[in-house]
C-alpha cells in the first residue's frame, strides 16, 4: 500500500511538471479554450464514477455514482463541444488552403 501511494505521488509530481511546461507554452490567445479543454479532460473522473455505479456495492454508492456520472459526462460533452466551437472561430488573416 505504502509503495503504491509513493508511486502515485511520483506520477502526480511528474504530471504536474509536464502540465506546467506544456501549458506555459499555450498562447494567451487560447487561454479560454485551454480552460474549457482541461475541464473536459478533467472530467475523466467519470471513469471512477462508472465503476462505482457498475459495481453496485451499496445503494448509496450507486445513487451518488449515477449523479456523478451525469455531472462528469455533461462536462465531457459540453467541454469538448464548446472548445471545438471556439477554436473553429480562430482564423488567420490569409487562410491557406489545406
Amino acid at each position: 500500500m505504502g509503495s503504491d501511494l509513493l508511486t502515485s505521488l511520483y506520477v502526480f509530481v511528474l504530471a504536474g511538471f509536464i502540465g506546467f511546461e506544456v501549458i506555459r507554452r499555450v498562447s494567451p490567445l487560447l487561454h479560454t479554450p485551454l480552460m474549457s479543454l482541461t475541464n473536459a479532460l478533467d472530467a475523466i473522473a467519470v471513469v471512477g464514477a462508472i465503476v462505482l455505479v457498475g459495481e453496485h456495492k451499496s445503494k448509496l454508492a450507486a445513487i451518488l455514482g449515477t449523479v456523478a456520472v451525469i455531472a462528469a459526462t455533461s462536462n465531457v460533452v459540453g467541454g469538448f463541444l464548446i472548445t471545438d466551437r471556439m477554436l473553429k472561430m480562430f482564423k488567420a488573416s490569409n487562410p491557406k488552403k489545406r
Binding site: T32, L34, M35, A49, V76, G79, K91
Partner: protein, 465 residues
C-alpha cells in the same frame, strides 16, 4: 483468473494511451493552427478511457451507467452551445459539475471503506472531499455572479476573513480526526457541509473584476480534487489528468493576479470594495477634449497604424461586429490595424480573444500586452473601446493610486488616443483615469456599438477623409 488479468492489462494499456493523448491534446493547443487536433486527441483519449472502463470485471450493472451517460450528454450539449459572452459562467458551471462528481465519488468511497481506511488514504480522501465541496458551491456562486443572478458587488462584513478561515480550520480538524479514527462515520457529513458552506463564503466577498482570477483558481482546485480522487482510486490516469488541470488553473491564476498586480491572498481575502472608498475621494472638475464620429473617422482614415484596445464594455455593448467592420474598412484603406489585449480584458482568461475571433477578426491581429506595448510609440491612433483601468497611466507613475504597479497597455504613448465611453464614470476599480485629460486624448461619448457604426459610415461614405 487469467481472464480478468488479461482484461486488466487491456484497461491499463488503454488508460496509458489515453494519458498520452491528453498530454498531446494540451501540447497541440499551444498554437491556433494545431489546436483543433488537440480537441480531437482529447476526445479520442476520453472515448478510449470510458470504453476500457466498461470492460472492468467488477461491473455487474450496466443499466444505470447507460442512463447516466445519456442524461449527462443531454445536459452537456446545451452547455456546449452557449453564447460566447456566456462562456465564463459556463466554465464556472463546469467546474461545479466536475467538483460535484469528485465529491460524490469521494463520499461513496468513504462509506464503502470505513472503518478500514489507512491514514494516508483518509487524508487524501478528506482533501478530495473538502476541495471538491468548496469548489462545487464556490463555482456555482461564481457562475451566479457572472450570470448576474447574484449581486456582482463584493459583500463584506467585519471579521469575514476570521469567520471564513475558522470554518476551513474546523473542516481540517474534522479531517485530522477522521484520519486518526476513520470509523467515525457520523463526522463525515459535517466535513462535506462545512466544505459546501465555505465555498459560498469564499466567493461572497469577491467582486466582478476579480472573476478571471477566481475562475482560474477554482479550475486549479477542481483539478487538484480530481487528482486526490486518483490517489484514492489508485488511478494514474486520473492523477495525471487532475495534475494537468490543476497546473493549468494555477498558471492561469498566477497570470491573472500578476495582470491585476494582486496576490492570491489579496484576491481571496481583500475584497476590492475597500479600494473603492479611498479612490473616490480626490475629485475635481477637469476638462476633456471631445470629438464627433466625423472627426474621429477623419483622423482614423489618415492614420498609418491604429491599435484598438477592446475592453469588456465593448462586449457588453455587443459592438464587436461593428468593430470588425471598422477593422475591414481601415484595413482596406491600407491602415495597419491591430488589437491590444490585456490579460484581464473580459471575464475569464483569454475571453476577449474568443469574442473578437467570433466576430471574424483574424487572430494574428490580436496582440498580447507584452507584444503590443513597445509598438505604441509608433502608433498613430490608439482607439479604446470599453476598457478603462487597464489603460490608466496612474498604474505606472502614481504610487498613491490603488492600481499602482498593475501592468497596463501604454496607450498614452500613441500619438493620438481616442476613448469611446458612455460617460465619465470611473471603471471597475472606481479610479479616475488621467488618460482622459491628456491633450492628445479625444473622448468619444456614446454607445460603443452606435459610435463605431457612425465612424464606419463616415469612412465608407467617403469625401471626409
Amino acid at each position: 483468473m487469467t481472464q480478468p488479468f488479461a482484461t486488466q492489462t487491456v484497461i491499463e494499456v488503454a488508460y496509458l494511451i489515453a494519458t498520452v493523448l491528453f498530454i498531446l491534446s494540451l501540447k497541440w493547443l499551444s498554437a491556433p493552427t494545431t489546436a483543433r487536433h488537440g480537441v480531437w486527441a482529447g476526445e479520442l483519449g476520453m472515448l478510449l478511457a470510458i470504453a476500457a472502463t466498461l470492460l472492468h470485471h467488477g461491473i455487474i450493472d450496466y443499466k444505470w451507467i447507460a442512463i447516466a451517460l445519456v442524461l449527462g450528454s443531454i445536459i452537456g450539449v446545451p452547455l456546449g452551445l452557449v453564447q460566447m459572452t456566456a462562456v465564463p459562467q459556463r466554465t464556472a458551471l463546469s467546474h461545479a459539475c466536475g467538483a460535484l462528481c469528485v465529491t460524490l465519488v469521494g463520499t461513496s468511497e468513504f462509506y464503502l471503506r470505513t472503518p478500514h481506511v489507512p491514514a494516508f488514504m483518509m487524508a487524501v480522501l478528506s482533501m478530495e472531499v473538502i476541495l471538491g465541496s468548496l469548489t462545487f458551491t464556490g463555482s456555482l456562486m461564481a457562475a451566479g455572479k457572472l450570470q448576474e443572478v447574484l449581486p456582482q458587488r463584493p459583500i463584506t462584513y467585519k471579521g469575514q476573513n476570521f469567520v471564513n478561515l475558522s470554518a476551513l480550520a474546523v473542516a481540517v480538524v474534522i479531517a485530522v480526526y477522521l484520519v486518526l479514527h476513520p470509523g467515525t462515520r457520523q463526522l463525515f457529513p459535517f466535513m462535506v457541509i462545512i466544505g459546501l458552506v465555505f465555498g459560498v463564503m469564499m466567493i461572497v466577498p469577491i467582486g466582478g473584476a476579480d472573476m478571471p482570477t477566481v475562475i482560474s483558481l477554482l479550475n486549479s482546485y477542481a483539478g487538484l480534487s480530481a487528482a486526490a480522487m486518483g490517489f484514492v482510486l489508485d488511478s494514474k490516469l486520473l492523477i495525471i489528468a487532475g495534475a494537468l488541470d490543476g497546473s493549468s488553473g494555477f498558471i492561469l491564476s498566477v497570470i491573472m493576479s500578476k495582470a491585476m498586480n494582486r496576490s492570491f491572498t489579496n484576491v481571496l481575502f481583500g475584497a476590492f470594495g475597500q479600494v473603492q472608498a479611498s479612490a473616490a475621494a480626490g475629485h475635481e472638475a477637469r476638462t476633456v477634449r471631445t470629438a464627433t464620429a466625423e472627426e474621429a473617422a477623419t483622423i482614423l482614415g489618415a492614420a498609418n497604424a491604429v491599435v484598438i484596445v477592446p475592453g469588456y464594455g465593448m462586449a457588453v455593448a455587443q459592438a464587436q461586429h461593428k468593430v470588425r467592420e471598422l477593422f475591414d474598412v481601415l484595413t482596406k484603406r491600407g491602415v495597419d490595424v491591430k488589437f491590444a489585449i490585456h490579460p484581464v480584458a473580459g471575464r475569464m482568461p483569454g475571453h476577449m480573444n474568443v469574442l473578437l475571433a467570433e466576430a471574424d477578426i483574424p487572430y494574428d491581429r490580436l496582440m498580447d500586452m507584452d507584444t503590443i506595448n513597445p509598438e505604441f510609440p509608433q502608433t498613430d491612433v490608439a482607439l479604446i473601446i470599453g476598457a478603462n483601468d487597464v489603460t490608466n497611466p496612474a498604474a505606472r507613475n502614481e504610487p498613491s493610486s490603488p492600481i499602482y504597479g498593475m501592468p497596463i497597455l501604454d496607450v498614452d504613448k500613441a500619438r493620438t488616443v481616442m476613448v469611446i465611453k458612455r460617460s465619465m464614470s470611473p471603471g471597475f476599480a472606481g479610479i479616475d483615469n488621467d488618460l482622459y485629460y491628456l491633450d492628445k486624448t479625444l473622448m468619444l461619448f456614446g454607445d460603443a456599438k452606435a459610435f463605431v457604426g457612425n465612424i464606419v459610415r463616415e469612412l465608407t461614405g467617403g469625401g471626409h477623409a
